[in-house]
Amino acid sequence: MADLTLQLLALQLMTGIALGALYALLAIGLSLIFGMLTVVNFAHGAFFMVGAFFGVYAMGLTGSFWFSLVLVPLATGALGLVCERFLVRPLYGRGIDYPLLLTFGLSYVLIELMRIVFGIEGLPSSTPPELRGSVNLGFGFFPLYRLFLIAATAIIVLALWLFIEKTRFGLIIRAGSRDPEIVKVLGIDIAKVWLMVFGIGTAIAGLSGLLAAPTRAVNPEMGIPILAESFVVTVVGGMGSLPGAVVAGLLVGIVFSMTSLFAPEYAEMSIFVLMAVVLLIRPQGLFGKAGLMS
């Protein structure tokens, strides 16, 4: 019996990591945009939802999951570029609340657009055929798709880390998040960098929507709880910190899956309680810098 419980715990832990991988991905997109543009993207959940819809639609159209894996981030990224260029950009320098309010309004419009195009019921989603079934991990069978989710997130995070730490453009991003004025003085068109970063952030949001689609219901409102949850992850991890987003994402995912094992009634609430505790002990988040919040 004790053995069985341990097995169950391990499986639940894996489920938590798979969920956490998704949270981490979402928080990275949010953090990237904030770290660079000091804009909290309230439409992040909406871009996630759009990504899920595009994903399901593209899979139906092309029949290939791998193809849509490339197509969807490009599409949501392009949408993000348009939004930054024409909606967010006029608001720079007008106070920190305005871009936030704008993206909030944008989320309404995106939700409605998906309702108009795909209907209010949403779309049925299924796991791609090549990723169905489960794998024996030694302590039990675990769904292959969730394993894929963990691996995909690891690859994306690694690629992003290499991109930011090792490339010339990444250097500009890092410099820009520290002091945009100096970067401008050095002759770099920071507006273009901001545009790209917003595009990358929304592309990641769309990608996480696509990855999440087989594990949950795809409907126009699916982004709303996700937005709140990714805020929890960002607050726990510390805004603007990449390692913070990953660690907090996994932590939140594990807390959620463990509470759903022991006290399913409180599963949704547990992660918010976690956030409240972090706020009491360390208001700037686990990896956050104290000065960044003001």
Binding site: F34, T38, V40, L87, P90, L91, R94, I96, D97, Y98, L100, L101, L102, F104, G105, L106, S107, Y108, V109, I111, E112, L113, R115, I116, I224, P225, L227, A228, F231, V232, T234, V235, M239, E265, Y266, E268, M269, F272, V273, M275, A276, L279, L280, P283, M293, S294
Partner: protein
């Protein structure tokens, strides 16, 4: 003529509560139907409470549905489960919102700026899930039904609460009391303190004001006013829908406040009126209300950040300056 208008505007400015009262007394006759007027009263109050925090103190909360909802639910629970009279139920609702305001406010004011918005949003989600799960008390997904108050009886008077017009005037009494409180508050030294926190928090602290305490106090006051709006809404609808705690309900406060004009006394009220009137008109034409309001909201953020009322006030002030210059006043 110009002289008369100039003086009339000055008078109205000095007696804004009197002018508001006079207008709200005839307001239901200007609306297509009374229920819309009642809704505007309730949501106007909700937006005014929110504006105290956002417009005047500069703290953008995305969790104010928690206070509207707690006010509604606790009022409803007092009537349905405890069988308390309507006035006691309102007191319970408002007090509960204040308590929720203390708890959420204590946690949220530890953060600033955008963080504050995210934290209030997340904390409001706890309240949402809590009430959603407590099905025995709240009815869960179906909402709390049967908050029935047919007759308002006080000091020997009996007012028919089923008649929409008399219902409007009963609710108006509470709304005017709350508006008067807010008006007094904003004209008091405390009102100056919270505005100084909005303008420059560090400087306010350097001047010797206890910033954290003032923030918490204004947070709780704001929660209490939104709680009153919630309590009145429970009595008005005779049901408490679970949507009152939803994230979109929090967003509605933000939208109404900005549409009307944040940081102005009556702006949020005007915003609520515009929002609800627009909703009434648009939903008759198309199902896509949410998209329309999102679009309108974005246009306001981009081009009219001062809102309908704030922009109007600017126009009036500009005309007055021009007039005073011409007359050599």
């Amino acid at each position: 003529m110009g002289h008369f208008i100039h003086h009339a505007i000055e008078r109205i400015r000095q007696h804004r509560m009197l002018a508001t009262t006079a207008f709200l007394l005839v307001f239901p006759f200007l609306m297509p139907y009374e229920t819309l007027a009642i809704n505007i009263l309730i949501f106007g109050l909700y937006a005014v409470g929110f504006n105290l925090l956002f417009g005047y103190t500069g703290m953008l909360s995305f969790g104010h549905a928690a206070f509207l909802g707690v006010g509604s639910y606790l009022t409803g629970i007092a009537v349905v489960h405890a069988g308390w009279p309507w006035w006691a139920a309102i007191v319970v609702g408002v007090m509960s919102s204040c308590v929720a305001g203390v708890v959420i406010g204590y946690l949220a004011i530890r953060t600033r700026g955008i963080y504050f918005s995210m934290v209030t949003l997340a904390l409001a989600q706890i309240v949402y899930f809590g009430f959603y799960k407590a099905e025995r008390w709240t009815g869960g997904e179906n909402g709390l039904r049967g908050v029935k108050v047919d007759v308002i009886s006080l000091l020997g008077f009996r007012i028919d609460f089923l008649n929409p017009l008399s219902k409007y005037y009963v609710i108006l009494v509470f709304v005017l009391l709350a508006l008067w409180l807010v008006s007094r508050l904003l004209n008091s030294p405390f009102g100056a303190v919270i505005e100084s926190i909005r303008e420059n928090e560090k400087r306010a602290a350097a001047c010797g004001y206890n910033v954290a305490q003032s923030k918490l106090l204004v947070f709780v006051l704001s929660a209490g006013i939104c709680g009153l709006a919630g309590a009145l809404r429970a009595l008005h609808l005779s049901i408490v829908p679970i949507d009152s705690l939803h994230y979109l309900q929090s967003g509605q406060a933000v939208m109404m406040c900005l549409l009307g004009g944040m940081g102005t006394f009556l702006g949020p009220f005007v915003g609520a009126a515009v929002f609800l009137y627009l909703e009434d008109v648009v939903t008759n034409v198309t199902r896509y209300w949410m998209g329309v309001v999102g679009l309108v909201f974005m246009i306001f953020v981009l081009f009219f950040p001062k809102g309908v009322w704030g922009t109007t006030l600017d126009w009036i002030a500009r005309w007055q300056r021009k007039y005073a210059g011409k007359e050599g006043l």
